[in-house]
């Protein structure tokens, strides 16, 4: 071994990954010093194998992963993949996640890419590590490479030679000091390659097994930290104070109106801080602020929102898909079917409001965040404070749920700025309204769908246009303070983006147009109704329309909805999931209920509906079987059947539970969720005014058919199922009642109103 390999691995990372350990080890004395002591810089280089993988003195491995497991089993999936490449046991691999000092910027949790994109560089790095270790073993054991094999980190020689070498002996506790080829991409698409070729799928031992997750016991015995549990010595508790009427500015603040707490203010950035949390909470409630309301109320009110969107100017339009000549085809159609569908603003409504802890020093800063993108947190905090990114450390600690760009990013920047202004470490946490009324919202939209049929009932023209508030009115991460409440309240220039989405399917309609149109935000600065990414952005929204419309066309042509889809679907894997779901659910073609007033007076009606969609390379079909209670207006979706093909399956049990979570959260969004507001105030502020699904309405069964396409690379499961749920339920409602529900949520009020009209 040369000298380069004998450097002890006094590794920054080993001590740094657990929140509790950080605090007890580092306290307020500057975690950067510790981090820098060993590694000299806080931003690991993707071009170094050591940035991805370490072999510890006992021969076990640590993998450094720049994405986060939000509770869907990603950690163990990555361990399975790395352990397979290294020929280690899965329990011999620990995955360190979400600390910007120890992980490369792989984009955090994003777009269901944890395995599909996130695992690639780790797989390649692990393969390269194995190659290096085997070549060293060949020298030590004086044996040809092709005679070596590895089991659980022990390398042996074929043909009875008794000697062996271990990963621990060869490199335990030392750096590889080996370079990788980096594709120069930062974020989701970051990838690296060594000289080694990763294993073929048929050589996997652990991939494909339902290995139990390792984060469960810590949650069940209350022993693992959440970001809310991070305590830094000397920290103050803070609560942000937001304008009660949207768009208001501060006229004056009575600092004497609170006790045991003080006001921190710069421009419109307003908070109270206290030594004790309860004092901060009481002070935030008691603080007397005179607000200056804007001349015009900014909002159209919940019930005026969709008319507002229909009539609003178009900021940006994109024809995402155009084939044939839709305009001409509509002109020669014998019959045209049209419908519109409406989706409301929805809240992340995470289980708890966001919390962040920041310790800002003159030249450095550390921020503990529940944000699913801590590298973005780091970059946003650095820009807000005027520090270089490499002087800021973002540490992800599990937060109270994360399903996109929720309030966590705002909390992190708030905490950092408060720490800068007070010179003390700060713990800021929201109250319930900060998580429901003030988080960035999932975009509301109106979909216009049109189909032209020829005389024989064949679809010759098809058009689906989504029009709505932008999915990126604020960016889907907090890497720029202009996209956060802190930056906005400090008067930074605005940075709105414009984007929406279109259906993802393979219907081979002759002439087809899929387009989206974005309308201006209701209020640009510090808006509680600013919009950004909510789990499966635009997935449930557009497919509620498109997959219900496909059913409407099928009905209009007297075709069974499954048969209709199979007639037009062009991709074989798409057809396979539709067939699998229908078969598993025992689907048989029959006519939907007709609108008989008598039938609608039954105590309970039953129906079933199907929806299907693609997401990236994943395809899902869902059958919902529901009961409708006309008098209560209640829909109970008792059973779902899901057929799911996300390529090669890493961990079937985690996958099933991830799909279940998608179904239930998707069902909650379908039946219950709508952010309500009047002309200047969001009135959905808690769980009473923003109800979500509870146990009473949970399905009794979710039957899942996993299609393991082992020849297709893993393509993600964190979101695809969700987009099928709303239309599957709405189609089942039509099957049960003969009535279409074209606006979400399918609340009791709307169900009763729709049935009364029938």
């Amino acid at each position: 071994m040369d000298d380069a390999h004998s450097q002890p691995l006094s590794r920054r990372e080993f001590l740094l990954a657990s929140g509790a350990l950080i605090i007890s080890t580092v306290g307020a004395t500057g975690s950067l010093a510790l981090a820098q002591g060993a590694a000299a810089k806080l931003v690991p280089s993707p071009e170094q194998l050591d940035s991805w993988l370490a072999i510890l003195p006992d021969g076990t491995a640590e993998a450094f992963f720049g994405k986060m497991d939000m509770g869907q089993g990603l950690e163990v999936a990555i361990a399975q993949i790395v352990a397979d490449e290294l020929d280690l046991g899965v329990e011999q691999v620990v995955v360190r996640m979400g600390d910007t000092a120890t992980t490369c910027n792989q984009g955090g949790a994003s777009g269901s890419t944890g395995v599909s994109l996130g695992a690639r560089p780790l797989r390649n790095a692990a393969a390269e590590a194995r190659r290096i270790l085997l070549s060293r073993a060949a020298a030590v054991l004086d044996a040809p490479l092709d005679q070596l094999s590895v089991t659980r980190g022990v390398i042996t020689v074929a043909g009875g030679k008794a000697q062996s070498a271990t990963y621990a002996d060869l490199i335990g506790g030392k750096h590889f000091d080996s370079a990788l080829e980096w594709n120069k991409s930062v974020g989701n698409f970051m990838d690296v390659k060594g000289q080694a070729k990763p294993k073929a799928q048929q050589d996997y031992r652990l991939v494909g097994q339902s290995i139990p997750r390792r984060d469960v016991a810590g949650k069940i015995f209350g022993s693992d930290d959440y970001v809310t549990d991070i305590r830094v010595p000397g920290m103050l508790h803070a609560r942000m104070v937001r304008a009660p009427r949207a768009g208001s500015t501060i006229a004056s603040v009575n600092a004497d109106s609170i006790r045991n707490a003080r006001v921190v203010r710069e421009g419109e950035f307003l908070a109270v801080v206290a030594e004790r949390e309860w004092d901060a909470i009481q002070a935030a409630r008691a603080l007397e602020v005179q607000w200056a309301a804007p001349a015009d109320d900014p909002f159209p009110g919940t019930d005026g929102l969709h008319d507002h969107i229909r009539g609003a100017s178009v900021l940006k339009r994109e024809d995402a898909m155009r084939s044939g000549d839709p305009e001409a085809a509509f002109k020669r159609a014998a019959r045209i079917i049209e419908a519109q569908y409406e989706w409301p603003l929805q809240s992340h409504a995470s289980m708890g409001p966001a919390c962040a802890v920041a310790d800002v020093r003159p030249d450095t800063a550390t921020v503990w965040t529940g944000s699913q993108k801590p590298h973005s947190t780091r970059d946003g905090v650095a820009k807000l404070l005027g520090l270089p990114s490499e002087k800021v450390r973002g540490v992800w600690v599990m937060g109270p749920g994360s399903y996109g760009r929720n309030d966590a990013g705002d909390a992190a920047l708030d905490a950092a700025y408060l720490s800068k202004l007070t010179g003390r470490p700060i713990r800021v946490q929201g109250m319930r309204a900060d998580g429901t009324a003030w988080d960035p919202k999932g975009a509301a939209c109106v979909h216009r769908a049109r189909a032209g049929l020829d005389a024989a009932g064949k679809v010759i023209a098809y058009e689906f246009i989504a029009k709505g508030l932008s999915r990126v009115n604020v960016m889907f991460n907090e890497s720029d303070p202009r996209d956060c409440l802190a930056g906005m309240s400090l008067g930074m220039p605005l940075n709105p983006g414009a984007g929406l989405g279109t259906p993802a399917e393979s219907y081979g309609f002759e002439s087809k147009l899929l387009a989206w149109e974005v309308v201006p935000a209701l209020l640009e600065r510090c808006s509680p109704l600013r919009t950004s990414h909510l789990r499966d952005p635009l997935g449930p929204e557009v497919h509620f329309g498109s997959e219900q419309f496909v059913d409407e066309i099928a009905h209009a042509t007297g075709t069974d909805p499954v048969a209709f889809r199979l007639e037009y679907i062009r991709a074989a894997r798409d057809a396979a999931v539709v067939k699998a779901a229908a078969e598993k659910a025992g689907w048989s073609a029959r006519r939907p209920a007709t609108r008989s007033a008598r039938a609608l007076h039954a105590k309970v009606l039953t129906g079933r509906g199907l929806a299907y969609a693609q997401r990236a390379d994943t395809v899902v079909a869902v059958v919902a079987e529901i009961e409708v209670y006309p008098r209560e207006g209640r829909i109970w979706a008792r059973k779902f059947t899901v057929a799911h093909d996300c390529g090669l399956i890493i961990n079937p049990k985690s996958l099933r539970q991830t799909i279940e979570g998608n179904v239930v959260q998707g069902l909650s969004r379908t039946l219950f969720e709508e952010v309500r507001f009047d002309r200047n105030t969001v009135t959905s502020v808690d769980w009473a005014s923003y109800p979500i699904l509870e146990m009473r309405d949970a399905p009794e069964a979710i039957d899942i058919v996993l299609i393991n396409s082992t020849d297709v690379a893993p393509s993600g499961a964190g979101e695809p199922t969700m987009r099928c749920i709303p239309a599957a339920v709405a189609n089942a409602f039509f099957d049960a009642t003969g009535v279409r529900l074209r606006r979400v949520p399918l609340s009791a009020e709307r169900v009763k109103a729709a049935l009364a009209k029938a």
Partner: protein, 159 residues
């Protein structure tokens, strides 16, 4: 300020704080416990649930003074890795939690309910869990775990 003494997870504790401060902040900030979580502060979600003399209680709206002289049990005191409560054991076997921030509500409520109603039907269990939230949507796993725990708790050796 008041001095409030009670038994917490089997040990006597003493807190000096405002008597109307919710118990949650005493548990978290004065007594250094992490597991009861702030979810809403309005008794609408369950994330802060503990047991008071064996009954599930939302600590975010319970004044500290209400627990004077009483026995408070948190998730941490319900069981340990070496000796888990049957619901904790079932939760682990079923791998229930995703983010896990809600588990105090479900586990502390279900433990109190099953202790009093060991042979509850599915419908009764669903009803007993009304008012609890899980944003990740793990409801089916929760039901599986509670039924598994029910089986564990009604075995002859446990009765």
């Amino acid at each position: 300020m008041a001095n409030v003494q009670f038994t917490l997870d089997g040990k006597p504790v003493s807190v000096d704080a405002e008597p109307d401060m919710p118990l949650l902040y005493a548990l978290r900030n004065d007594l250094g416990l992490n597991n009861p979580h702030f979810g809403c502060g309005l008794a609408q979600c369950g994330a802060c649930t503990v047991q008071l003399d064996g009954q599930a209680l939302r600590s975010c709206v319970t004044p500290l003074s209400a627990v004077q002289g009483k026995t408070v049990t948190t998730l941490k005191g319900l069981g340990t890795p070496a000796k888990p409560h049957p619901i904790q054991q079932a939760y682990i076997e079923e791998q229930v939690p995703q983010c896990g921030y809600c588990v105090n509500g479900w586990i502390m409520t279900a433990a109190a309910f099953l202790a009093a109603n060991p042979r509850a039907s599915d419908a009764q269990i669903r009803e007993a869990l009304a008012g609890l939230k899980c944003r990740c949507g793990t409801h089916l796993s929760i039901m599986r775990a509670i039924k598994r725990a029910q089986a564990l708790m009604t075995r002859p050796e446990h009765a």
